[in-house]
């Protein structure tokens, strides 16, 4: 019984997610891309770099990268905490 409920819920979720994916704008043809067109056009002038992705990662969205570095640091601290040697 419980298994069937879970299965039904899973199927509902699957159907809705697939519906969402199918209703997206067609693959390879973004409708709105103001931000990205701006990045492609102006990152060379503003961030003085050829690699637009790097310009976004470290300049336009550098704060996200700081958060990402924090995530990595947090995970390393967490692993060190979990796998520490206990003297008791």
């Amino acid at each position: 019984m419980r298994r069937w409920i879970v299965l039904a819920a899973f199927l509902v979720v699957a159907g809705c997610l697939l519906l969402g994916a199918a209703r997206m704008r067609p693959f390879g043809a973004p409708r709105l891309a103001l931000m990205d067109r701006y990045f492609n056009a102006f990152s060379q002038g503003e961030a003085a770099t050829n690699n637009v992705v790097t310009a976004i990662v470290f300049d336009y969205r550098g704060y996200d990268t700081l958060g990402e570095a924090t995530v990595l640091f947090t995970a390393v601290v967490g692993v060190a905490l979990i796998l520490r040697r206990i003297r008791r």
């Binding site: 997610l17 931000m35 947090t74 967490g78």
Partner: protein, 512 residues
């Protein structure tokens, strides 16, 4: 440099810098480490207070990262491209709660954590969790919200797994981590859907662009699913008692604040991002989940024999009160009757009250466990003879949480009762029932653990732990005796930020 303009980002960057450097100081010596932590904590608290003062006096603070000037939110062409911090009254309020809880937690941890290597790492994780909460509260960017969501998730789970000498700590941490990660991935999938449709990530910009299409609704459902899990609404609350029960006490208070900041993220998404699409179904969903949460969790608390788990279920039920209050506000935000705003205020005020009261209870449980060496209510008893202060604090916290006048929980619960009564009397009846159940639960816990004849000789509770608990107890008493001050000066602007503040928020970021 002009500190007041840069305060929002400094409030996040300073604790991050402090956390990155903390293990280095820890290698040099414990007094250096403690000094560094004290400095960082004081600086961060001052900066958060500065942000709050600015927000409450002059309105929304906007800060564009990496632009030539902080207020320079828009690129040529009139759309935001950089990450923007947008702190409104609700964000500042959440920042204050996180800061308060973090300071108390650090003061408590000074003597609570015994072992040195683990202590440095646990303090680092605590600082990171604090910084992550501030990041979540201050950000105005959807993807950035996700990143800090993950920071808080990982730091919280690391803290939950602190007790590696038992198998229960890692078990709780593993389960919590899996659920948090699934929730985070739902969040990320929703971001991908929204980005794919609109090519924007800024909350305000997205809010202007959303049209209510199928994809938008799928994204909304994914965001809701992930965040409802993180805040611990029944029936996806099951990680919460495990995690609250097993984490060290100074971590639990941060975990509770973390669920509240996640609640803030939920409200931000429902009111600001999706506020343009008036959808009563979602409001009723939040109300229903809130009612279910407060009822089920308080019933579950009745039969718990582990003191930590008992209080943990109490904490889950308080989340139900906040969901109920804000959900009533959400169902009525389109027609704006007065009781909707009242319930909204009650829900937001209850966040602060809950942070104080439940924090007090968890810290007292930590003290009991440290003193008596166990938490099973069947074997505890008579601790009140030796732990006079701790038992007093536990009693105060329990009464405040159960909503007994004149303590702080009553004031906010009264607002929730009145507001939800006018929406549907059944809701407020359920809420009152849950409060009564909680009172019974906590009286039973208090009697079982603290009253009765002496059983054994517990260790004394160190002074820093008592000071931390005393600070929270003072807060509980103060908010109980002067609720109008807080409601008028802190809570009402925060509630207005959700109630009518959507346009103000979008104007502040987009200028149109």
């Amino acid at each position: 440099m002009n500190l007041t303009v840069h305060a929002p980002i400094l409030a996040i960057a300073v604790p991050l810098l402090g956390a990155f450097a903390l293990p280095l100081w820890g290698k040099l010596g414990r007094s250096l480490r403690d000094l560094w932590l004290l400095l960082v904590a004081a600086a961060t608290a001052a900066l958060v207070a500065l942000v709050a003062v600015q927000v409450y006096t002059t309105g929304i603070q906007v800060y564009t990262l990496g632009a030539a000037w902080p207020r320079d939110t828009l690129a040529p062409g009139g759309f935001p491209i950089r990450i923007i911090l947008a702190v409104d009254a609700l964000g500042a309020f959440m920042g204050l709660i996180a800061t308060l809880v973090a300071l108390v937690g650090f003061a408590y941890a000074a003597r609570y954590l015994a072992e040195e290597e683990g202590k440095t790492l646990a303090l680092t994780l605590g600082t990171l969790l604090w910084a992550g909460m501030l990041g979540m509260a201050f950000t105005g960017d959807l993807f950035n919200l996700f990143v800090f969501f993950e920071v808080t998730s990982i730091a919280a789970c690391g803290l939950v797994g602190y007790r590696t000498w038992t198998s229960r700590g890692p078990e709780a941490a593993f389960k919590t981590m899996v659920l948090y990660t699934v929730g985070g991935l739902f969040f990320l999938l929703a971001i991908a859907l929204l980005y794919g449709e609109y090519g924007a990530l800024n909350l305000a910009h997205l809010a202007r662009l959303l049209r209510g299409s199928t994809v938008d609704r799928v994204a909304l459902a994914l965001l809701l699913g992930g965040l409802l899990m993180k805040v611990g609404a029944v029936p996806v609350h099951m990680w919460a008692p495990d995690a609250y029960g097993e984490a060290p006490a100074h971590g639990v208070v941060l975990l509770v604040a973390n669920t509240q900041v996640s609640l803030y993220a939920l409200f931000r998404i429902l009111f600001t991002l999706y506020g343009g699409l008036s959808d009563p179904g979602v409001g009723w969903l939040v109300v229903g989940m809130g009612a279910l949460t407060l009822l089920v969790a308080s019933l579950m608390a009745v039969v718990q024999m582990d003191l930590g788990r008992l209080v943990a279920f109490g904490a889950v039920s308080q989340i139900g009160f906040m969901l109920l209050g804000v959900g009533v506000g959400l169902t009525t935000v389109a027609s704006r009757p007065g009781y909707g705003l009242l319930a909204l205020r009650g829900g937001i005020f209850h966040m602060l009250n809950d942070a104080l009261a439940i924090g007090l209870l968890f810290l007292a449980v930590g003290a009991v466990e440290r003193a008596a060496g166990g938490r099973n209510l069947g074997s505890l008893g008579g601790l009140g003879h030796n732990l006079k202060w701790t038992s007093g604090f536990f009693f105060l916290g329990a009464l405040a949480l159960a909503g007994i006048p004149p303590l702080n929980g009553f004031a906010s619960k009264l607002m929730i009762y009145q507001g939800s009564f006018l929406l549907s009397p059944i809701l407020s009846a359920l809420a009152i029932l849950a409060s009564i159940l909680l009172l019974a639960v906590f009286v039973r816990a208090f009697q079982g653990a603290f009253l009765g004849p002496r059983l054994g000789k517990p260790d004394p509770v160190p002074v820093p732990m008592l000071i931390a608990m005393g600070a929270l107890a003072l807060g509980v008493l103060f908010l109980g005796l002067f609720p109008d001050l807080v409601v008028r000066h802190l809570v009402t602007p925060a509630a207005d930020a959700l109630w009518t503040g959507r346009e103000v928020y979008l104007q502040a970021v987009l200028g149109r």
